[in-house]
Symmetry: C2
Subunit: 444 residues, 2 copies
């Protein structure tokens, strides 16, 4: 099998399965068909399930009572390749250079889900069966918000009953270092609009006599934090579960230098965050209040001496266990109302939200994953959380009632979502071993 997996991987990568652009809809469908046929070829029962958007490929082995059921999730859709001029080779013509395959989707997520497929194939070729019951759910809309996945899970809740979900769509903390992500932050959005005069005013004729809404908004936003980077909204941290000692300890020992990596990646002149916490703690285990956008008055070239009629800011709060999105938004609204400058009105609109995720990496599934990762990589797994949010993980918990093992294979320099996306073949091969080891360990 190893002889021609590269050619098959390339075939998978050649589909421009860009989910966000309607002009690629045919290619997305062809890609789904290709995945489904591949899964049938390796001995699984597979079908392409239509949705109002792009189809979901759903495959399974013959389920047998008395053994665990594992749902492996992935996606075959990819990000748009733009800007094309920044690619060294065409995004949908994979090339191998120094052990790295360059193509859109090489890592995210075709390479990672393909390593699972190859792992299953090898096991079936060797043992004629898998050690556990497996469902593969490979969707085509992850890059556009997985809008039809929830309904698919709900519609097929009974058939998809399982013990645990495996997802390889996150990162490895460093090269050759297997990584189990056991936590994600949640998110809650709030838009704030401050209105003063009914129209933009002449700042000479009126300036001084009425509140400037941009000034009012700036003063309001300045109340979000104190000087030490703590969020100053009363009650904001009340439900935050303190970091556990083993986590602080284990993150401190990770084989990375988070501060210099963060400086390098962001290009920020220096790091800054909540006093009393390390960089990793700040992004993985502490909530934030971020301004995503802010606007008021005249933003074009030169000067326009207006006193703006209104000013707005878009905020998102990253949440950690056990914060509740609705409760946090309520606290912030109350805080803003209490700190309202005079002379303006305040409109606040809640936006989308998604819950945080935390699973115990030391429960039986977590332990099985750790043992498997050690077997596949010959190295202890790094146990980390991530700062972002992965809504599908909450769907698996909410709809199927199960935990998710996030065992991603992406490296920092794989350039997911960017030009020159690439995937090292050593990770593809590690993924094959990882798939086999995890299923064995979960079989018990």
């Amino acid at each position: 099998m190893r002889d021609n997996y590269l050619e098959e991987y390339y075939s998978f990568l050649r589909f421009p399965s860009v989910s966000t652009d309607a002009k690629f809809a045919d290619k997305v469908r062809e890609c789904a068909a290709w995945v489904s046929q591949k899964l049938e070829k390796i001995g699984l029962e597979s079908k392409v399930v239509p949705t109002p958007g792009h189809p979901i490929v759903w495959a399974r082995n013959k389920h047998r009572n008395g053994r665990p059921t594992v749902l492996i999730y992935g996606h075959y859709d990819v990000q748009p390749p733009d800007p094309l001029e920044l690619w060294d080779s065409p995004p949908f013509e994979p090339v191998l250079k120094n052990g790295y395959v360059f193509a859109r989707g090489a890592t995210d997520n075709k390479g990672q889900i393909f390593s699972h497929i190859l792992g299953l194939q090898e096991t079936i070729e060797k043992n004629r069966d898998l050690p556990v019951n497996v469902d593969l759910v490979i969707e085509g809309e992850e890059e556009v918000g997985s809008q039809n996945l929830g309904k698919f899970l709900t519609d097929n809740r009974d058939a998809l009953k399982c013990d645990v979900v495996l997802v390889s769509d996150t990162g490895m903390i460093a090269r050759k270092t297997p990584t189990l992500s056991y936590g994600l932050r949640g998110v809650a959005a709030l838009e704030v609009k401050v209105t003063g005069p009914k129209i933009d005013l002449h700042s000479g004729i009126f300036g001084g006599a009425v509140t400037n809404p941009a000034t009012a908004l700036a003063r309001l936003l300045a109340t979000l934090h104190d000087q030490n980077g703590h969020i100053a909204v009363p009650g904001f941290y009340d439900d935050v579960v303190p970091l556990q000692d083993w986590e602080r300890e284990s993150w401190r020992k990770l084989p990375i230098d988070p501060d210099s990596e963060m400086l390098e990646e962001t290009g920020a002149p220096s790091l800054f965050g909540e006093a009393g916490f390390s960089t990793l703690e700040r992004i993985w285990a502490r909530p934030t209040a971020e301004i995503n956008g802010m606007g008021s008055g005249y933003q074009g070239p030169g000067t326009k001496t207006v006193l703006p009629s209104h000013a707005m800011a878009k905020l998102t709060f990253r949440l950690v266990p056990n914060q509740n999105g609705d409760a946090i938004i309520d606290l912030v609204k109350k805080h803003f109302q209490k700190n309202m400058p005079t002379g303006v009105t305040l409109e606040m609109t809640s936006g989308h939200s998604g819950p945080w995720y935390l699973t115990d990496p030391h429960n039986k599934f977590g332990q099985a994953a750790q043992r498997a990762l050690k077997k596949a990589f010959n190295k202890d797994a790094a146990l980390i959380r991530e700062g972002g949010s992965i809504p599908i993980v909450s769907d698996f918990r909410k709809i199927l009632g199960v935990e998710t093992l996030l065992i991603g294979l992406a490296l920092q320099d794989c350039r997911a979502h960017s030009p020159n996306e690439n995937f090292p073949l050593e990770n593809l091969e590690a993924g094959i071993r990882m798939n086999q080891a995890v299923l064995e360990e979960l079989a018990g």
Copy 2:
């Protein structure tokens, strides 16, 4: 003469002399020619002086030694009439309704400068001469920044040597209340840009570990004022000349209700300004720090969870005697530098500036103007300052070395710059009387 002045006023108003729009350039030139011919018809020597932009009309009577020289300034260009659909009648087809003439330019400035022209005409018809030497300078670029006026004044400095300038391009405090504006605020602009990461970052993956530039900017802008509306930049008020008792007293007695008018005009939910000062004091005699525009990150619909790379704000400061624009900008820059949040860099760019203006309404010219206004309106003149800036007034002081008497005839509801601009005939007639009375009083 009175019989046909309305028809001539209408002819003047029918020219769409919109200076900002190149497609009206011919009409602007025709309008200048019409004005110049009118001035010749009443017995003045007049010429149309070309500039790189729109021409300047320059007329004068025969100057005689031993009597004062008065420069009367006005402009024949007008604001664009848009939005057209909000006009009740076409902007360049003047109509008379209940004593008000509706047309673009009816007040600003054709009506006001025409009343001066009619005043001169009447005096010449009666006395065959004017009581003083007069220069009329009527430009065509006031609405686009008077960019060629300064050079015209400099080029003709000797010929334009005069004792005082008369300008009717400001407002009357109330109907039938003659008004002498003796002060204007200056202005100084500063643009501030705060930069953090080199590109917009994912707020989940990076949020918490680096400074958010929008938050940093908000915190910086919040240091501009204290809670009582005072500007909190150290040294900002050092050069401010305190209001004089007679001014406070006289403004308090003005026949207007500034607070309710301000609420009505602005539509702001309430008034707010520097503690310890009335509304009129705040806009006429106190400096301000206004945010004219502010922008950062994502401002479109919905949510985009970015941590923005940068944030900017455009500021203007209104200045009062004896503040110096450059010195104020330096103080603000120092203040911002001192209050810089960590983790970001700060770029500050000074913009345009213009000096404040203050003349003593009780000097000999001011007294002459007050007597003349009382004669023309049969009521004591209100002595006021204005919150805006009129750069030409500084040009007259700087280039010609003379003071300006601002004796405007615009009412609040004349809608200068807006649809349905109008001018009451009673103001046109009062302007005729005012022109005659002022020249008589200045003749001594």
